[in-house]
């Protein structure tokens, strides 16, 4: 029997945003561990288990991915596209967490199979309310997908 995943993978390049998001999660009393990667290539490496990320004790596969759009090296959409092409990973719930509210970005994300699209508010209180809701919905209420297809580790 496979153990349920608990990690949240936060893909975000802006240090201050990372700080504030983690503070908001703290205020929302999120117990789940949060791993941060700061560019698109690192996100793919983490999910693929490349290099140091092969150690799944230290870098477990995530329950939920919070993904920014504008990232160095590989964009959020490219990461999403790659993910949805991976047999063993493609069911992972992905929530876009980004500043862009442009409809072409929103539509592109849904075209690539994002599960939800959230816009980062400027005011911290609003950010807190948002992430509190994310915790309630995606961590506590949402039924996660089954792990790998039978036969695979």
């Amino acid at each position: 029997m496979t153990t349920a995943r608990t990690t949240i993978l936060l893909v975000e390049d802006n240090e201050t945003d990372v700080l504030l998001i983690q503070r908001a999660f703290g205020k929302a009393k999120l117990a789940n561990p949060v791993h941060v990667v700061t560019d698109g290539d690192a996100a793919v490496a983490y999910l693929n288990g490349d290099g140091e990320y092969a150690d799944r004790e230290r870098f477990p596969l995530p329950l939920l991915i919070l993904l920014d759009l504008k990232l160095p090296r590989r964009s959020g959409l490219e990461v999403l596209e790659w993910l949805r092409g991976q047999e063993t990973l493609r069911r992972t719930p992905v929530v876009m967490l980004t500043s862009s509210q442009q409809s072409r970005d929103v539509n592109a994300a849904y075209d690539f199979g994002v599960n939800s699209y959230l816009v980062k508010p400027v005011e911290f209180d609003a950010l807190f309310e948002l992430l509190k809701t994310v915790k309630l919905y995606w961590i506590m209420l949402n039924e996660p997908p089954g792990a790998n297809p039978p036969g695979l580790a």
Binding site: T16, L19, S99, S100, Q102, V122, E123, F124, L127
Partner: protein, 488 residues
């Protein structure tokens, strides 16, 4: 006998026609007063001289032939010719020559009767004038009978269609009409027979070399003197140049439009990037200042806490400003889709957005039951009403009372948003609609100063007007006026 001679003499002298008599060799024997007046020679000057005196050189050969016939004993009737006056000028005349027979029946001389040609034919002169007009016209002018056979064809028609007059007169006009246009010609003939003109209708004709030419055609019925329609006159104008000009103009418009679209797209991308990139550090500023307050507030003195609070609120204000500016700039570039909208729905949508403010201030909202349907853009209108209602609540004093009602007047509907608040001095009524205009400090009444600018710009784009009636202490009544949808 003597009386007879005197009578005859008087008759000859009183005649309006120039009368002269000659011997068979042309020597002048008689010259009446009218001849003196017409040709300028007195009788004394001409009698005894030859008739050749008054014949211009270039006509000498013709006149010899004519005189020859007269000498052979024939009358010459209605001969159009030219004579030369004493002053050298030429005069067109109609000539009659009668042989004069002696008592024994032998030919003894000729009598010439001349009348100036111009006078008798006002009609001729007019016809000549009109003919010259047609010949010299730049427009192709032709005429045909009711069977479509070409009767006349001016030089401009020759140039336009390539057929010479002698090639096409007597042929059917369908020679120059492309086959697919023949039904047109049937229709034109039908209208001509009914006595109607066909005005400036655009069509296509075929030149002699086979090429097609676009023309604008006017066809009028030709009537005989007794009023029957006997044919049609056609005036055709070559439209090739006009069409080329129109095409070039359309091309220019298209180029300008795509230039404009490109510029707009660039502006939009710029505005988006501005908003996106400005708001990220703003988020940092605001969030960290608040973190400072919340996590370290206890180790800060009141002044430090105040500083931190101000940073938080300034950052929030800056964010609202950026969003309002973006909305305002987008207004100029927006592609407006208009639709029939029930203004009541818009009011409800705006009120939903203001729920927090309404419950926070305990505001009472009264909505008139007869709000009309109008032609507008839904998104813009919701924004407009949200801004107006937000102001009404914000400046409405304690427990604001906001009234929404409508008035109608020929083709327009006016929506009023009235509040019971602090009012606005008359000298500020125009200013407040400008961007960044505020009448109060941000501490007392938070806001960016762009709300009403957005209202005015939006309503202007929708083809309407805005305004305000207000006095200090007696509340404000804002109005927007928009076209009303008439019942289909």
């Amino acid at each position: 006998m003597k009386d007879n001679e005197a009578l005859l003499h008087a008759v000859v002298e009183s005649s309006q026609d120039a009368i002269c008599a000659t011997e068979l060799d042309g020597t002048i024997t008689l010259w009446n007063g009218a001849a003196e007046r017409l040709l300028g020679y007195s009788a004394a000057e001409t009698i005894g001289r030859t008739i050749e005196t008054i014949i211009p050189d270039e006509r000498r050969a013709v006149e010899q032939i004519v005189l020859g016939r007269a000498r052979a004993g024939h009358s010459v009737e209605q001969h159009d010719t030219v004579r030369r006056r004493r002053d050298g000028g030429l005069v067109e005349v109609v000539l009659r020559i009668s042989p004069v027979f002696g008592p024994d029946g032998a030919l003894v001389g000729l009598s010439h009767f001349l009348r100036e040609r111009g006078l008798g034919t006002l009609l001729e002169r007019r016809a000549q004038h009109l003919g010259a007009l047609v010949e010299s016209s730049d427009d192709a002018i032709a005429s045909k009978d009711l069977d479509g056979i070409v009767q006349s064809w001016n030089p401009a028609a020759e140039r336009l269609f390539g057929y010479r007059a002698d090639e096409i007169i007597g042929q059917s006009i369908r020679t120059i009409i492309p086959h697919d246009r023949w039904p047109e010609e049937d229709e034109v003939l039908r209208r001509i027979r009914a006595g109607d003109r066909v005005d400036h209708f655009e069509t296509v004709r075929q030149r002699k070399d086979g090429s097609l030419v676009p023309i604008s055609l006017t066809v009028s019925p030709i009537r005989s003197l007794d009023g029957r329609i006997i044919g049609a006159s056609k005036i055709a104008r070559d439209l090739t140049a006009l069409h080329a000009y129109a095409t070039r103009l359309e091309q220019m418009v298209q180029e300008r439009t795509s230039d404009l679209q490109r510029a707009n797209a660039q502006l939009e991308a710029f505005a988006y990037s501005v908003s996106h990139d400005l708001r990220a550090p703003l988020r940092g500023m605001q969030g960290l200042s608040q973190a400072l307050l919340e996590d370290y507030g206890d180790s800060l003195d009141e002044t430090a806490r105040d500083y931190a609070r101000r940073i938080v609120s300034e950052a929030s204000l800056l964010d609202r400003l950026i969003q309002d500016l973006l909305a305002y700039s987008r207004l100029s570039r927006l592609d407006l889709t208009l639709e029939r909208i029930d203004s009541r729905h818009i009011v409800d949508a705006a009120l939903r957005q203001l729920q927090d403010e309404i419950s926070a201030t305990g505001a009472r909202i009264e909505i008139a039951p007869d709000l009309p349907a109008i032609t507008a853009n839904r998104t813009l209108l919701v924004q407009v009403l949200t801004n107006l209602l937000s102001n009404a609540i914000k400046f409405g004093g304690e427990r604001p009372l906001v009234r929404i009602r409508a008035e109608r007047s020929d083709g327009c509907a006016r929506l009023w948003v009235e509040d019971s608040g602090i009012g606005i001095e008359p000298q500020h009524h125009e200013r407040i609609f400008g961007a960044f205009e505020r009448l109060h400090s941000a501490d007392r009444y938070p806001g960016t100063g762009i709300g009403l600018a957005i209202v005015r710009r939006s309503i202007e784009r929708l083809g309407g007007r805005v305004g305000v009636e207000s006095q200090v202490g007696h509340g404000s009544r804002f109005w927007i006026e928009l076209p009303v949808v008439e019942a289909a």
